[in-house]
């Protein structure tokens, strides 16, 4: 909560008395992410390069929605991953315009190598870090471990403790970034979910002009690479003895930020009525105990401070609004006279006897000769809630130390030992036996032709083959993922080892402490499944060669990925393909990043509506054609590539069998299955089978396979006289129905032309083994 100084407040009131004034503000009810988007739209940045990641994704979604309503002109570029997004931002900033981004967690770390490079290149921009846990088992909830990785990147960091602050800090951040004495990219960090998704009463400037006036015109007297009259070399090769001088410039600029921030915050307070001192000291007059704590949890702690103060306990809260540069003097001032400081940290610096800020506070206090006891408690990681009684417990701990009791200087707060008898830890299914998964399907190579002959029993008989996924997963009703995967796996005999990339299939089957998987399952980060499973495959064969593993048969290694994983993980998947490991990559394509709320993927067809490709006047959904991943894999010359859908079940079972044969005998097999997402396709729960079947019959998603470069269409709707117009498929989904309206004729035609062009090429390949 911003401090409303009485004098500032009266100024604010005087603005309210002039409702037509430039700085008139409206009262609204908004979340942190909405306010970040509001500020960005009002600033009207030139370019946003982004990649969706929870919980920051909504910022791009809201901006997309606002763009559909014509509320800003920001060019929004959906990157291939956060590393790409950071590259887009770097390049756009090098071009001299205003640049914006938002990210979280692993996404932030994925772009991390870019961030010191951009700061070192002195290219300003503003990025929102909506904080979230960075950890081994995937955790999408909020803590500060990503933020702590950002402490060393050379970006000034502003903290936004509530949705109001998210708006205000975003506006101030740009001015800090562009200031002549700074010229650095700036991070605005707010708490994932606690701030990003919770909605509160907020105020913002009614007119964009007010924001434009405050941030001022973009400074143009700086180097950029788009001026033909003044060509420059940006990004030279610089070693010793020069780099240290560049580094020193950067260091000096960082320390300038404190002064610049003060000026900007003061000017902003005059206009807005909201004041953000570098460090907020709450009820610190006469306090002997201080809780040093960041962002949303600091707010929770204030209510508790009020209660404890009423009981006469000498406690207060210190929380910074500026984290980098670390406002050393202001913190020392706030803590002057304090005898116990409890530094509550929502992340750990593992093995360092306290997390990052504890050491920084200790350094500050030592410098001013304070003898205050500093206690560190790591709390609330992985999104664990922070209740008022948690704040009270931390205060009580500090008060115990004040009273001379023995209190460990470092520990975790809020862990639990667990129940050794918990049912969930002990109830499990027997491992699948060979009999349950074998003897159904056979593949034989015909020596004379080299052709693979596949024998598959009826679907009825295949119901006797054990599924590798157990019931009880949390996917949406009517989800097409599991029918797709399991139909494919019906073709595969024996043991499998699966790797699921991050996505719906992974999170719905492995919500701790439950798992739906009956076979060995592995997950690594979103974009790295291809490489990861390569490592597992090669380890298996090397262990086997050395006689260090005892398995009756080789397992079949299957990587399962959504289309999102194949965007951000394209490089890793192609790398595995080039190396031709004995594994299968199975992509389930639901035409969007459905796990994070239906943002566009490169596989989203032209014109389709997603939460980042809105539909409105002049904006007919996604602006570019869908990625043709099978053909990219064909170009990688892997032995086997196929497409499939659940609606052509036997076709898919057969392809599963062939994929297994190739993965066992030759190398990498890749298959793409189109699967339905009723929720985000805006279709009935029971319609998925029909929709993917119609996608095949319309030739949008032809069924084919490519063996050693030779293409064979496995179902030709024209030959069966079953081809339907593309419109029949589009009309089945709320996300694409609008393409049938008169105003979208051109987009529809363009999609149909592309479908036809790809289909004709495929037929030509089918007819000619050399193509």
């Amino acid at each position: 909560m911003a401090i409303l100084e009485p004098e500032i407040k009266s100024m604010h009131d005087s603005h309210e008395k002039q409702p037509d004034g430039l700085y008139e503000q409206v009262t609204d009810f908004r979340s942190g992410n909405e306010m970040a988007a509001r500020a960005a739209a009002q600033i009207n940045y030139h370019v946003m390069g982004y990649f969706p990641i929870t919980p920051s994704t909504e910022i791009a979604e809201y901006l997309d929605e606002m763009k559909t309503r014509g509320e800003h002109d920001i060019v929004m570029i959906p990157a291939d991953g956060e590393h790409g997004a950071a590259g887009i931002c770097f390049g756009a900033s090098a071009g001299g315009g205003r640049v914006f981004n938002a990210t979280s967690a692993q996404g932030f770390l994925y772009m991390l190598e870019q961030l010191p490079a951009q700061a070192g290149a002195r290219l300003p921009m503003v990025m929102n870090l909506v904080t979230r846990a960075v950890t081994g088992p995937l955790d999408i909830r909020g803590d500060h471990s990503d933020l702590y990785h950002g402490l060393n990147i050379g970006w000034p960091i502003l903290l936004a403790r509530d949705p109001q602050a998210v708006y205000d800090m975003n506006i101030m951040a740009l001015k800090v970034a562009e200031h002549a004495d700074v010229r650095l990219p700036v991070l605005v960090a707010s708490d994932g979910f606690f701030t990003s998704h919770s909605k509160r009463r907020v105020h913002y400037f009614k007119n964009r002009d007010a924001v434009e006036q405050f941030v001022g015109p973009m400074p143009r007297n700086y180097h950029h690479v788009l001026d033909p009259k003044h060509p420059i070399t940006m990004g030279p090769y610089m070693n010793d003895p020069d780099q240290i001088n560049s580094r020193y410039q950067h260091s000096l600029a960082m320390y300038e930020v404190e002064r610049v921030y003060d000026q900007i915050a003061e000017a902003y307070a005059r206009l807005s009525g909201r004041s953000y001192p570098k460090v907020e000291a709450y009820k610190m007059e006469g306090a002997r105990v201080a809780l040093f704590i960041l962002n949303s949890a600091a707010e929770t702690s204030k209510d508790v401070t009020d209660e404890l103060r009423e009981k006469g306990l000498p406690v207060g809260v210190v929380s910074p609004n500026l984290l980098r540069p670390f406002p050393k003097k202001a913190i020392a001032d706030a803590l002057a006279g304090v005898e116990v400081v409890l530094v509550a940290e929502r992340a750990d610096e593992l093995g360092a006897h306290g997390a990052n800020l504890t050491h920084e506070i200790q350094a500050v206090l030592q410098e001013v000769g304070s003898r205050a006891k500093v206690i560190c408690r790591v709390y609330g990681t992985g999104g664990r809630e922070f209740y008022p009684d948690d704040a009270e417990a931390l205060f009580q701990l500090a008060l115990s130390a004040l009273n001379g009791e023995e209190v460990a200087s470092f520990d975790y707060y809020g862990v639990n030992p667990g129940d050794p008898d918990a049912e969930v830890a002990h109830v499990r299914l027997q491992p699948l036996t060979k009999e349950e998964t074998s003897g159904f399907v056979s593949v034989e190579k015909e020596e004379s032709t080299g052709e693979l002959k596949v024998k598959v029993p009826s679907m009825r008989a295949l119901t006797g083959k054990a599924k590798r996924v157990a019931p009880g997963h949390g996917a949406c009703p009517g989800c097409g993922i599991f029918p797709g995967i399991e139909t494919f796996l019906k073709g595969i005999e024996g043991d499998v080892v699966v790797l699921y990339q991050t996505g719906c299939a992974q999170v719905t089957t492995t919500g701790y402490p439950y798992t739906s998987h009956r076979v060995n399952f592995l997950h690594n980060l979103f974009q790295n499944g291809g490489a990861t499973l390569s490592g597992t495959v090669e380890m298996y064969f090397e262990l086997k060669r050395r006689g260090e593993i005892d398995t009756p048969d080789d397992p079949t290694f299957v990587m399962v990925s959504g289309d999102g994983g194949m965007d951000i993980g394209l490089g890793s998947a192609l790398g595995a393909a080039m190396r031709n490991h004995k594994m299968i990559i199975l992509e389930y394509d639901n035409e969007g990043y459905m796990n994070t709320g239906a943002q566009l993927s490169y596989s989203t067809p032209l014109g389709h509506m997603t939460s980042t490709s809105g539909v409105g006047p002049g904006r007919p959904g996604k602006s570019f054609q869908h990625k043709d991943m099978p053909q990219l894999m064909v170009a990688a010359n892997v032995p086997y590539v196929f497409t499939g859908v659940e609606a052509f079940a036997m076709d898919l079972v057969r392809k599963g069998a062939k994929a297994q044969w190739y993965a066992q005998h030759e190398g990498l097999a890749y298959g793409k299955i189109l699967i339905s997402c009723p929720l985000n396709w805006k279709a009935a729960d029971d319609a998925g089978n029909r929709i993917v079947g119609t996608a095949v019959k319309s030739c949008f998603f032809p069924l084919y396979e490519v063996e050693h470069g030779v293409t064979r269409i496995t179902y030709n709707p024209e030959e069966k006289d079953e081809r339907v117009p593309v419109e029949d498929w589009l009309s089945m989904m709320g996300k694409s129905k609008h393409l049938l309206k008169a105003e979208n004729t051109q987009v529809l035609q363009s999609l149909k032309d592309e479908v036809e062009r790809r289909w004709m090429r495929l037929k030509a390949k089918h007819d000619n083994p050399l193509l």
Binding site: P431, G472, H473, T508, T515, L679
Partner: protein, 337 residues
């Protein structure tokens, strides 16, 4: 500055606290947002709204929290609501898997989307005292082609004194007008019918009755029991879960006499609900036979009905006992260890 008293309960901030219990897809999140937004923008209050966020999919249990206070109170915390004055239950089946009334004040209000009577809901929920409000929001939503959320909002406004129905009604109008103008009038009608079609009964406070306390969930797994690195050793333990609360009023009914045991249903089912058994005929040949449906996992998507070539599978409006009476359990090789 004096703060007006807005509820009878004893919350620190003098707040009125509402918790909505729902499953993803019914619009509880939006309902919570609209209620709080109406409070802030149209009822002269301050407000806060959040929800239980994770990677919740459609059909999984979700909660939405609304905290309303006098306008001059600063709401700082972002923590969930544990001792609500009002609980709205968007889906009756949630009583099976969630402690919906946990922490509800003794004189609290429980609003339920149901076809049952308040007495029946009292029995089902275990609520002893307070006000029970029943509304058939699902029926209204089906008729108006909307979602249950606006009907539930109508029922909430009818019985929760702090909620001004006119303000909430206008909030709904604004919200839909902006995003889905075609649905505005249907949602206003849904709201009005929810408001009108409540059945309410008050169960007087009883000093001997202890309300159901809210207990913060503690994970059964902890630092002494979690296998290192987050590994789960208990493969397939998701079979312990009950997903029947994901169903939104419909389920597939199965008649074995009509079944030709083709396997289509099994192949398209996202939730592995179909139970099969090998049987040998008099010629000594073994075939698979469909035994029935394990409704514990059925989310009611009805894909199986869509692909069934006979009338063996059909869509049924779910009642209390059909699934219970017709469930055929999977015989998984479970062991403890």
């Amino acid at each position: 500055m004096d703060t007006q008293k807005i509820t009878d309960s004893d919350h620190e901030l003098n707040s009125a606290e509402i918790r909505l219990e729902s499953i993803g897809g019914l619009g509880a999140n939006l309902a919570g947002k609209m209620l709080a937004e109406a409070g802030v923008l149209r009822m002269g209050l301050n407000g806060f709204n959040s929800a239980s966020y994770g990677s919740e999919k459609k059909g999984t249990p979700v909660k939405s929290f609304v905290r309303l206070t006098p306008a001059n109170v600063t709401i700082r915390g972002a923590n969930p609501i544990e001792e609500p004055d009002v609980v709205g239950v968007f889906h009756e089946a949630l009583f099976k898997t969630q402690n919906c009334i946990a922490g509800l004040k003794p004189n609290g209000i429980l609003v339920v989307n149901t076809t049952k009577t308040p007495d029946e809901i009292r029995k089902l929920s275990g609520l002893k005292t307070g006000t029970i409000v029943c509304v058939d929001a699902m029926d209204i939503a089906v008729e108006e082609k909307t979602r249950v959320n606006t009907a539930m909002m109508g029922a909430l406004c009818r019985e929760v004194p702090i909620l001004d129905p006119e303000a909430v009604r206008e909030m709904i109008r604004d919200t839909f007008q902006g995003k889905y103008p075609g649905l505005t009038e249907a949602n206003i009608r849904t709201f009005d019918r929810g408001y009108a079609e409540v059945v309410t009964k008050v169960y007087e406070p009883d000093e001997d009755v202890v309300p159901t306390a809210f207990v913060r969930p503690v994970s059964p797994m902890g630092y002494k029991t979690q296998p290192l690195g987050g590994v789960i050793e208990a493969v397939g333990n998701s079979i312990l879960k009950d997903l029947s609360a994901s169903r939104q009023g419909f389920l597939p009914a199965f008649e074995v006499e009509q079944c030709i045991h083709c396997g289509n249903c099994d192949q398209v089912c996202p939730d592995m609900c179909f139970v099969w058994e090998p049987q040998t005929n008099d010629k000594g040949k073994t075939f698979m036979f469909m035994q029935g449906i394990d409704y514990q996992y059925c989310k009611g998507c009805l894909k199986c009905v869509d692909v069934c070539p006979t009338d063996a599978l059909s869509q049924l409006r779910e009642d209390d006992i059909y699934a219970q009476e017709h469930i055929v359990k999977h015989q998984f090789p479970v062991y403890q260890g």
